[in-house]
Symmetry: C2
Subunit: 342 residues, 2 copies
């Protein structure tokens, strides 16, 4: 059986002996049509299996009910959580989500933006591949010149004038340092010769997020007279380099007083390195940003600063909807503060 030609509004109209426009109205502005006509039309529509054509409608209005979500990694659990939040709230407002996983590639990110523009996306939630100052993609201007609403999420483009929902990274660093001072370096006294060492496994050296987290740690440490020396290993927010570099560090300098992993994957890398060097997790204090899921079931406690991804995603969508409703609104930045979980 060959598939039937698509049912249009005209087919429905013919069926009930009316014209297109009446059908259109019956379906979209029911109050403008006599109740009797309307129910005839509705019956005919569902009988024929009428489905409105989103393209025709979009072309007419030159606006769409599409929101783009652009991220470097759908499979990062923190992003998955944010996607879930965005998706859930978007559909409450009758928007659908176009999802782009850029895989960390600049050209895929540029493509994604281009595609969203061509679909007249009402808004874009953008978590770019990099927050480093020298990443200045060409699409920034096109975005500014178009009338899409844009909200950056978690990562932001350096100096780009868009709204954003970001984490309070300085605070997260302070939190980590405060916890370490209380628990791990509590005994430490000023001692220039053999200072206590804190090893920080960070993201990229130019990443603003990493630098803020580091700055948070340093300011809090500087407020005390405890002589804690900080060693930083720059990485890229993935597991492998963190594992290798922490391993190399331990071989060269021995065990530090504590290790701070700047995200989930980095921390897991550090823990793997420790395991490879026969260091049990409870011998060496490890602290993280982002939760290491379900470890509590096994009585492994890695304290961490946890951010509510669901909340962040929801706020981003709210910001986006506000800007869609009123494009003249000033850009806003919302900061989401994490919480230390022991």
């Amino acid at each position: 059986m060959p598939k039937n030609r698509r049912v249009t509004i005209a087919d429905v109209a013919a069926r009930v002996g009316m014209t297109n426009i009446t059908v259109s109205r019956a379906l979209n502005r029911p109050e403008m049509v006599k109740a009797e006509t309307r129910s005839k039309i509705e019956a005919a529509a569902s009988e024929l299996g009428y489905v409105p054509n989103a393209f025709a409608r979009g072309l007419k209005h030159s606006e769409s009910r599409l929101i783009g979500f652009v991220t470097a990694s759908v499979d990062n659990p923190f992003y998955a959580e944010m996607i879930k939040a965005v998706s859930r709230h978007a559909k409450q407002h009758n928007y659908a989500i176009l999802l782009f996983d850029t895989d960390g590639e600049a050209w895929l990110e540029a493509n994604a933006i281009e595609t969203l523009l061509s679909y007249q996306a009402a808004g874009i939630i953008l978590s770019p591949i990099s927050d480093e100052p020298d990443y200045r993609p060409d699409y920034i201007d096109r975005l500014h010149n178009s009338d899409v609403a844009v909200v950056q999420l978690d990562r932001t483009l350096y100096n780009a004038d868009f709204s954003s929902v970001v984490l309070d990274n300085v605070w997260a660093g302070q939190c980590v340092a405060a916890h370490l001072l209380n628990r791990v370096f509590a005994e430490t006294r000023v001692s220039a010769e053999a200072p206590a060492r804190l090893l920080i496994a960070a993201g990229p050296e130019q990443s603003i997020i990493s630098r803020e987290r580091l700055a948070g740690v340093q300011t809090t440490l500087a407020e005390t007279d405890r002589g804690v020396a900080v060693d930083v290993l720059w990485g890229d927010y993935t597991l492998e380099p963190a594992r290798d570099d922490v391993g190399a560090y331990i071989e060269t300098y021995g065990m530090p007083g504590a290790i701070f992993g700047m995200n989930q994957l980095i921390t897991l890398g550090a823990l793997q390195a420790m395991k490879a060097h026969g260091i049990a997790p409870d011998t060496l204090s490890v602290i993280s940003i982002d939760r290491l899921p379900y470890l509590d079931i096994f009585d492994i406690r890695v304290p961490c600063v946890v951010h509510d991804g669901f909340h962040a995603g929801q706020r981003a969508l709210e910001l986006l909807l506000e800007r869609i409703a009123d494009p003249e609104l000033p850009q806003q930045t919302i900061t989401v503060r994490g919480e230390l979980i022991e």
Copy 2:
């Protein structure tokens, strides 16, 4: 500064003193246009910031480059992996992904399908909220009557005639049973009075997937003369009921010989229940389907049958593309077999 009206093909045409169609051709069929004209047009297009209107194009062709991905849980890591695979391969073929998280709600699933139909989606990858025989959503017929390609992924609708990529659930069950016979119940002898007990924490009682996994276990156990009694706790693939029911079971019947959790969350629930009852993970053998990530770092070994979500997603997209290319192709079922990881 007010946003400029959208740049159309006509604006570009005016700029270079040509007509629409030439511009259209220069952009889409470069070989049909004189090289010189083409480069003038390309220059003008990029200068004006021309972006093709996907709606106009879609309306014209009555086809879109959109693929729908409908799932009950974006935040399930197994699905996240499949989404990543689908997304990566879709963009290689110039398709974008419309993502719908149905949150386990039938009406949201129906909405998602409706929306995809209205966007003339070229194809839909569908992982429905339930594979139980009494879940027969209305949209099945609409899907059959339309010309969207549909591939079911992981979960399938009972008796719906769509292609699908599913896991080899019977085999997974057999694998689990074989492993238990080798390692845990190796010593067990026929003993009608006090048989060894295997506790299975399953999904919904009517779920085909759960029943297949169970059937796999039972056939393999039946091939031996080891007297292993199987107790099944039906649940819903989430953590909490598994945790509570396993806890209650342990209180009533004491510790079983082994526990088999039918997915990641169920197994985690079982492990939580064990912890609550002071049973260390290495005292009681636990086996799972789906990997419990990163536990090896902590020397916790929960053997599991692991399925390659990335591969499954990729196969699903391939199947979909084949059907988009040739809608007359017969429906196919691809079975992905897991692997036991100790």
